[in-house]
């Protein structure tokens, strides 16, 4: 295969913990959100990343799209070092990696209409003022929304509609690679299916490279060709989606598979009591966000 579109090489991200004094005296160990992760994503890949809170999957996404810089290791976008690229905050590379967010109510500016939201995005891609309106409407059609939603504000939309607008906004930049961070976990099941089908269609029709972050293995299975399982900031297993799910090698992958609700079938293989699922053995460690160490400084990363 040719050179990867996006390549993570030994990437780590840690956050200082404790107060100012603790840090000066190096008394508190830093919080490691991502630990020495290497990963190649090729053009046209549809990669699923699964893991629970604290597994580092969202940190990985934030690093890969250039919102935060790694503490160690290198991220290459088409061979160019992302940390170097980030020096130019508004550089042309920005367009190429985009992200769709989990919480649709936080993903859209509550004071901007759908049309304005898309138009200002198109403006940043360099679309001429006269062409923006038509293209915004085209984007709405692409994600299966009617033009009548264009003048609406986010609170006038349903969760599923907002999620699609967020998707349309990311697509407006014509990205090479799209990271979707739990894009459907806040939606009702019927809307989940709609958005997942839409993503599948976009990868087929636009040849979009997609990284789908989720905790729902069954959803990942219908959408993705590759699967990466993460836990505690590290990749514990990866491979072709079908292989990993049919023949999981790591105990944690097996645990995740066993946790998927299985309807009536689940009644049998869930002998009521104290099996390995019990207790807090697998309680995930507190996340960086819980500790309040993942702040905006990291996002606005002094450029």
């Amino acid at each position: 295969m040719s050179e990867p579109l996006l390549s993570l090489q030994g990437v780590s991200k840690s956050y200082p913990r404790g107060g100012f004094l603790d840090r000066m005296l190096a008394r508190a160990k830093p919080f490691v959100a991502l630990d020495n992760v290497s990963l190649d994503i090729h053009r046209g890949d549809v990669v699923g990343i699964v893991g629970e809170s604290g597994s580092g999957k969202s940190t990985l996404a934030s690093l890969a799209v250039g919102l935060i810089a790694p503490t160690a290791g290198q991220i290459l976008l088409d061979g160019a070092d992302l940390t170097e690229l980030m020096r130019d905050h508004a550089g042309p590379w920005r367009r190429r990696v985009q992200m769709a967010f989990q919480d649709s109510s936080s993903a859209l500016n509550p004071r901007k209409t759908v049309e304005l939201c898309l138009a200002e995005t198109l403006a940043l891609r360099g679309v001429a003022r006269a062409a923006r309106r038509a293209e915004a409407h085209g984007l709405l059609a692409l994600v299966g929304l009617g033009v009548e939603l264009a003048p609406r504000l986010p609170h006038e939309l349903s969760g599923g509609q907002r999620q699609r607008v967020g998707l349309a906004r990311a697509l407006a930049m014509q990205p090479d690679i799209l990271f979707a961070d739990e894009p459907v976990s806040a939606l009702d099941v019927s809307l989940q299916a709609q958005v997942v089908n839409l993503l599948a269609r976009l990868t087929r029709e636009l040849g979009l490279t997609l990284v789908f972050i989720s905790h729902d293995l069954a959803l990942v299975r219908t959408l993705c060709s590759r699967l990466i399982v993460m836990r505690n900031g590290a990749i514990v297993e990866q491979g072709a989606c079908r292989d990993v799910l049919d023949n999981p090698q790591h105990a944690y992958t097996r645990l995740l598979i066993s946790a998927v609700p299985k309807g009536l079938a689940g009644r049998k293989d869930r002998p009521s009591s104290q099996n390995s699922l019990r207790g807090d053995v697998f309680e995930p460690p507190p996340t960086a966000v819980d500790h309040g160490v993942f702040t905006v400084q990291d996002l606005v990363e002094r450029t």
Partner: protein, 294 residues
Amino acid sequence: MNHWSQALRAVDWTGWLGAAFVVLMLGSAVFAPFIAPFDPIEVRLEDRLAAPDAVHWLGTDQAGRDVFSRVIYGARASLTVGIGAVVIGALIGVSAGLFAAYKGGLGDQLVMRIIDGIAAIPLLVWAIAIVGILGVGPVQIGPVALPNEAKIVLLVGVLFSPVFGRVTYAVAQRVVRADFVKARLLQGARHRDIVLGDILPNCLSPIIVQATLLVAIGIVIEASVSFVGLGVQPPSPSWGTMLSDARSAIYSGEWWLPVFPGLAISLTVVGFNLLGDAVRDLFDPRSEARTLVA
């Protein structure tokens, strides 16, 4: 615009009442020469301490000056200080708050600690102390002579800025974390556009509420500073100096001397507060949605 006309219809009567008070006071200040039936400064000892009647609607003071005319002209000093100080305070405070919240790190700490420092001493104590030190009358800063009123406006404005700074900071810190800000960063939008176009608009409601409250406080400060003789200088009228002059009248029975300037202050303060509530609702994009519990 559709949203606005819809939202305006949702403003209830208290909001309109507040707006009416504020417009009334602003109108008085601007059109004072056309409204006031008498010269507010001219002394006519033969008319002194007249009770309200058909000629002097609100009576006259110890120097025979028409109280109604003085209340009308007094609106100028009060509102100038109230509104002027709020504008200056908002400019300084909101910028500082936005900067600290967006930038984070050391800049954040520095700005917020300065703000804490100013805010550590109560407003009124600051105001009276500084005016006391600088003395009454214009201040010479280089080639510019700052008139007494402008000095008070500037001073109260600076003292207001921590309030704006903190309110802005508190909201902006939350807004900055929102995913739509990340999305803008990912698009390569300029920091200035993100701060002014995405963050500031979502911080506006509490800032506006704060502004209307502070206009009211500014009016009270002006009254207090003038009351102790450090503000607007006699004979020009302000509600504070009028109250100050009316001290003796409280005992001698000329009730109209303290009541009407006091009423003017109260109505204006209440007016700005009511208006503030209405404007906050108006600026909330979800205000129509809230009328129907979903």
